[in-house]
Amino acid sequence: MLAGETAAAGKAAAYEEIATLRERNALALKEAKESGVKVVGTYCLYSPTELIVAAGAVPVSLCGTSQNPIAAAEKVLPRSLCPLIKSSYGFALTDTCPFFHFSDLLLAETTCDGKKKMYELLGELKPLHLMQLPQIQDEAALDYWMVELKRLVARLQEEFGVEITAEGLTSAINLVNEERRSLKALQDVCKLRPAPISGSDLLAVLHNRGFCIDKRQAIELLDRLTAELVERAESGVSPFHERTPRVLLTGVPVGLGSDKVVRLVEESGGCVVCFESCGGYKKVDPVEVTGDPLRAIAEKYLRIPCSCMSPNQGRLQLLDTLVREFQVDGVIDLTWQGCHTYNVESYQVKTHLQREDQIPFLQIETDYSESDTEQLKVRIEAFLEMIGRRRKMPENALP
């Protein structure tokens, strides 16, 4: 079998380099700190990276994806809370994440209720700036959000003794847009059939590149990986078959440590070709480069289609596009236990996808622990069997 041989051919060279970014950059961050660089830790896609960059500081993502610190967090937080919130807080409480440790300022937004209240506790551990995020995506909300961005500008200037200029903002926009371009190009290689990289590996790259403190270096690395993958695809190298069921994963943020569903899908014979979530495709939408740069930033961040927004029509539109462009055979909606916004929204997503795209849909509600792995396997395998059968049936035989 071609696929078997090619999997043994190993991974792209750039992949190996990215796989170790977290460790290497923890050291780089320490050195940078010693030379006076400021670090801003963020937890959410709504954090306007451009402002941090324009303030000459380094943005790092602190969103918790590991089960390890959860037990410590549960001494303070309710057990029934979303694992992502508990993990994030647990890292802070136990001071086991170097990126948290080196952060000078935490940047937080009022998104879901759990996160919002957790931030109040987090603010007792480190300086924290909270942005009041509106929950609707209209003009009035945009004006309000502009005020919040200006408040952040003031805080960063004051905190780090710098001035954020229009030129600084424009060049930050260009840099972060460039990063988005490279992230999009990388994910788009999975539009090819079969995809030249597994969803697990793609997730590892998306997760790890967030720990690169030098954005230009990260962009260069990603572009190198993309080029290698395109080359592999051209010479027919892939871990999958042409007929491997293609799955789109939507829902809550996933990262290394919270990737069991991705792993189970691929162990059961499917492949995850697209991540609609925060670390994946939600992230690639660029900032407009015309007009007032601050306004353009505000617009971009406000239109993020997160379930914290009400209504959240944008997610359904994004899903329609991705289902088509990535030619997926099924959609899995991942929700964390205790995440009310994504859990409730799942019903709308299901109804919409089944009506508009006629696409098989499976919701999975779980947490970071391995306790339900066997049950999840049954669901996921049955879902892949369902997709496989559907693909074998002639079109007109479908209901």
């Binding site: 306790s371 049950q375 049955a382 369902m386």
Partner: protein
């Protein structure tokens, strides 16, 4: 072409031999040894059919223990197998309810017996065979007796679906002197509510088939059917539907699923 389907469930292991019609069946308790249960179920089914093992062309495994037997030519999930089995018995099945030892599922089928959607209970045993067994144990009756007791009784209110809490709720009701029949009826009502909750998440057709060992109890079938507002059809041997489906998938080769 002789195919075997073996369904290694959490409580019972079932085997069905099929060669165009059912040749042999068997059921053994799974116990702590799913592998041994699978092998002895197969042996007994072969004995029942009076054919040697060498006559088998294909063995398909399903159920939670399917991973533990190396003899399977194919492993297929119980969701696909139950759908296939139910479609064979009642070709117009649009929805299938299955209550097994540790789980309950609602499966939506297309006109060809394929799965189009399904929901399953999560970690907790609410609404499963296990739940019923524990409750029968508290009442000190068998499941069949519990069914008979419940006929015509006014259901006592049982609000908890968690096995542990429901147990203490029932102990409390017994202490208050509430009749066992009312409690039994209340337990069935609770299961029915649970199934309604699950069923609300997939489209329910007018032709609902009920599989799994729990379906052997006519009173439970009536209560769940009434709760869903549908007429339920129960196969003669509902606990074999998954194994039958597995055998059919083996019999039909790749084309079936």
């Amino acid at each position: 072409m002789l195919a075997a389907g073996i369904d290694i469930g959490s409580t019972g292991t079932k085997a069905v031999l099929f060669d165009g019609e059912v040749r042999g069946v068997s059921v053994v308790p799974t116990g702590w040894d799913p592998k041994g249960a699978g092998l002895s179920a197969l042996r007994q089914a072969l004995d029942c059919a009076g054919v040697p093992e060498s006559a088998l062309n294909c063995i398909v495994g399903t159920g939670y223990g399917r991973v533990s037997l190396p003899i399977f030519d194919r492993k297929v999930t119980e969701i696909t197998c139950h759908a296939r089995g139910a479609y064979h018995l009642f070709p117009d099945t649009g929805t299938l309810l299955d209550i097994g030892g540790q789980d309950c599922k609602v499966i939506s089928l297309d006109a060809h017996g394929g799965v189009v959607d399904f929901v399953m209970n999560d970690k907790c045993a609410a609404g499963t065979g296990r739940f019923l067994q524990v409750m029968a144990g508290v009442l000190e009756v068998t499941l069949e007796e519990m069914g008979l007791l419940a006929v015509g009784a006014e259901p006592a209110p049982i609000s908890s679906m968690c096995t542990v809490f429901a147990e203490s709720e029932i102990v409390g009701l017994l202490a208050q002197g509430v009749a066992k029949g009312s409690i039994a009826a209340g337990i069935f009502e609770a299961i029915s509510r649970r199934m309604q909750g699950l069923a609300g998440k997939v489209r329910i057709s007018s032709t609902v088939t009920f599989s799994g060992g729990v379906a052997l109890n006519p009173q439970i079938c009536r209560v769940i059917g009434a709760g869903l507002g549908v007429e339920m059809r129960v196969p003669a041997a509902p606990q074999f539907v998954g194994a039958l489906g597995a055998a059919l998938i083996g019999f039909e080769g790749d084309a079936a699923c």
